[in-house]
Subunit: 141 residues, 2 copies
DNA sequence: TATCACTTTGTAATTATTACTAATATGTAT
DNA sequence: ATACATATTAGTAATAATTACAAAGTGATA
């Protein structure tokens, strides 16, 4: 796997300590962290880091395509490492987790639709995850 | 077409004046309005309406399924009348409009995926709309 | 008419994000 | 290594979207 430093260099972003740590956390965290999640985690190891730096860096990384912005709750922005196969997300009504869903939608390869140029594709579902279904009476049948 | 009043009654929501006007505006507006859009439009005819009422009503309508919440920008929540065929959205990078896109994705009919119960499906694209492509040099080729 | 539940409104509080500025660090050319 | 220009970081203040709360209004019903 490409190291975070290599990813940044390839994108022409200077690999500073803060940027590396932020990118590595987003890459390794499977929970689609918010800015606040990232900040609260990193401040443990980097006591001087500021939330503004997390915002700035996240913006830079999104613009470069190194990470993707995930908008599923309508409240806060979340992030996803871009170096994985494209997928959709499930927002669980019970536990609130955002779970990756592998998808093989024919639309994902389209560069154009109804005359519009397509740059990014996003899909998400609201529902109840398999874990929570098991625990409760929320069965499909 | 069902009147707004009928929609509300069918959902068990008392069809007050404010609720009717809000629902009718969301139904007739093709721009996927924000709370602020709705408020600024309605206050012209209903000088006493408050933004809180718009928030409250939008929430009630979303919960009842009369309207859908559209999260595509990450900043503000938008709304879409639910009484139309399911579709995805395109956010245009140039003009910022949010345009309906008819889709026929095989996943839209799925009630279950990887063991998860699916309640809602959402899809959106970022790109450049056909109008803006025509105006600029932003061609796919 | 008195009562009760629901609805609306206005204000205050909260949360996420952006703007701005000063301080710091880095890279380059000397 | 030094000085300079520039990029980055950090801290604070400002803004924007949303929620919380409480008072006032409305309408149906006993």
């Amino acid at each position: 796997m490409q190291s975070a430093k290599e990813v940044l260099k390839a994108k022409g972003i200077r690999p500073t300590f803060q940027r590396l740590k932020i990118l590595e956390f987003i890459r390794d965290c499977k929970e689609h962290p918010t800015v606040d999640d990232i900040y609260r985690k990193l401040i443990k190891g980097i006591p001087t880091i500021s939330k503004t730096t997390v915002y700035n860096t996240a913006k830079t990384l999104v613009e470069s395509g190194a990470i993707n912005q995930v908008n599923v709750t309508g409240t806060e922005t979340r992030f996803d490492f871009a170096g994985e196969p494209p997928h959709h997300h499930l927002v669980c009504d019970k536990c609130g987790r955002i779970i990756d869903i592998a998808i093989d939608c024919p639309y994902l390869s389209r560069r154009e639709m109804e005359g519009h140029l397509i740059i990014e594709k996003h899909g998400y579902f609201r529902g109840i995850c398999s874990d929570c279904r098991g625990k409760t009476e929320n069965r499909a049948d």
